[in-house]
């Protein structure tokens, strides 16, 4: 028996979210008195993989062929399936992100294993297996029971945190038996992000709404984000109007994010917006309307004109950092 965690390969590097899912898998394994093991696809140095041992992973299977440096949903599913069978895995843990969403549902069908996505805590019970997740875009929490012998869950990023548990992590190479000739979809081009912090990974986010009044007023917001080391985001009308790129749109129909700190500037706090940000650890709202619903979900609020407050906040952060 074992708990398997899928470790996404970020161009040969691990990120905090990898350690979070590893921590989670280790805790689940602990409650079941079995080892937590990991699978990594594509090229990654030993020294990097070994770090998973700090979070309780005792063995990592690496599929080092560089074919696996690019995600192919169907192929990756086949490989993880073979690992599950070989290692006698009973629970598979994925991150609830793009890559987890790409593979986990397919694996569920492949293995006839019940899948619950976006779980937010450890199982409430292992036998029967019951776990909680957010539903209705964060408006409620549900308990879900998985009835199949094999189980798959994906962990909501930033919901569990890091839990150190040092173990030596043995690295084993795994040779899957798959055909690499399937050409039904292949990457023909790439466009890398410009420098800057990716919204989905960001620890801090500064976000602007219609209260910013126009795209020409974004300078002070960007300046604040830069000083804080934050990513920038926006509400839907802002991206619909083309003031900002739709990549920045957060909310129910945009990106769903869970940073440690979310600063909402000139955003009213409509339920569809809140659906995308309510998992943030701390929310600061800056708005000139004391009755704006954003203050109902915010931890800290400032009432006033964004144009005047932003530079002051930037100065305060500079002072804090000792600049």
């Amino acid at each position: 028996m074992a708990v398997l965690v899928y470790i996404q390969n970020f161009g040969g590097k691990l990120k905090k979210q990898n350690f979070e899912v590893a921590s989670y898998a280790s805790k689940v394994a602990e409650s079941m008195h079995c080892p937590a093991i990991a699978v990594v696809m594509g090229t990654m140095e030993d020294s990097e993989i070994e770090r998973l041992g700090n979070y309780g992973i005792s063995k990592t299977l690496r599929i080092a062929d560089k074919v696996y440096n690019t995600l192919i949903n169907k192929l990756f599913t086949r490989v993880v399936q073979q690992v599950v069978v070989q290692e006698n895995v009973t629970i598979v843990v994925f991150p609830d992100n793009n890559e987890g969403k790409a593979i986990a549902p397919r694996l569920s069908v492949r293995l006839n294993a019940g899948f619950v996505s976006g779980v937010v805590s450890l199982p409430l019970s292992v036998e029967p297996f019951i776990i909680s997740k957010r539903v209705f875009s964060g408006k409620a929490l549900a308990q879900v029971r998985i009835n199949s012998p094999l189980k798959i869950v994906s962990l909501a990023i930033n919901s569990f945190g890091l839990h150190e548990a040092k173990t030596p992590n043995r690295i084993v190479s795994f040779e899957p038996e798959v055909s690499l000739n399937d050409d039904s979809s292949r990457v023909v081009d790439r466009k890398m992000h410009a420098e800057g912090i990716s919204l989905l990974d960001a620890d801090k986010v500064v976000s602007g709404g219609r209260g910013m009044k126009g795209p020409e007023n974004w300078k002070p917001l960007e300046e604040l984000a830069k000083v804080m080391g934050a990513a920038t985001a926006c509400s839907r009308p802002v991206s619909d109007a083309g003031w900002r790129s739709h990549e920045e749109h957060v909310g129910q129909t945009g990106k769903i994010i869970a940073p440690n700190l979310y600063i909402a500037v000139g955003i009213s706090g409509a339920t569809q917006h809140v659906a995308g940000i309510s998992r943030s650890k701390c929310i600061v709202a800056i708005n000139n309307d004391a009755d704006a619903p954003i203050f109902e979900v915010a931890d800290y609020g400032v009432i006033g004109d964004a144009a005047q407050i932003l530079p002051k906040l930037t100065e305060a952060f500079k002072a804090f950092k000792g600049e």
Partner: protein, 249 residues
Amino acid sequence: MKLLVCISNVPDTTTKVKFTDNQTKFDSIGVQWIINPWDELALTRAVDLKEESNNPVSEVLVVNVGSAETEPTLRKCLAIGADKAIRIDSDTKDAFQTAKQIAAMAQKEAFDFIICGIESGDYNSSSVGGMVAEFLDTASISSVSDIRFEGGKAIVERDADAGKEYLQVDGTAVLIVQKGFAQEPKIPNMRGIMMARQKPLEVISAVDANALTEYTGFRLPEPKAKVKMVSPDQMKELVNFLSTEAKVL
């Protein structure tokens, strides 16, 4: 090319959710139902592709697994521009059971692309698209934010961690799409609404399919502590709170 868009029927995004039967069932009394917003974007783009003449898309079908109550939502899809709607007559138990129904139907017709929204606004599973693909043993591309055609071949744009990737697709595939695939949903016009009445809405019976998961209870999140107000002249104090009280810096 023939496209199939999978449609989830979900409560309006402003719904105040409630539960009944000892907090084990969603209370649908008084709820307005809508096309799942991501499915609406998927359908919008599918219809646009059909209406533009410079690509090979010629037909757009929509499918929903659900009871007769979901038919107004399917009619709206027809009004937006789908050619035909199919309702697979079954209550939905979980994503696995739903995907199996869709796959069984899709197997009988040759669709070039099956398009699903990235998640459903009710149970937020992000599962049906990937599951349909695996049942059909076909390629799937997730986090799709655009599509274009080059010499009859589809080039699909997806979000990867480091940026955008463009995939050429040969043969059928399931596309799991997000914002960007379309920017804003199409609003049906009068003509579309009139035409929708004449368009076929076929009801087919479900196949045998079990569920693997089961919702056993619901609760509302704990109410949040009251917001702490900070004066606009005290931004140093705010930063101090964030550092020492909220501990997020």
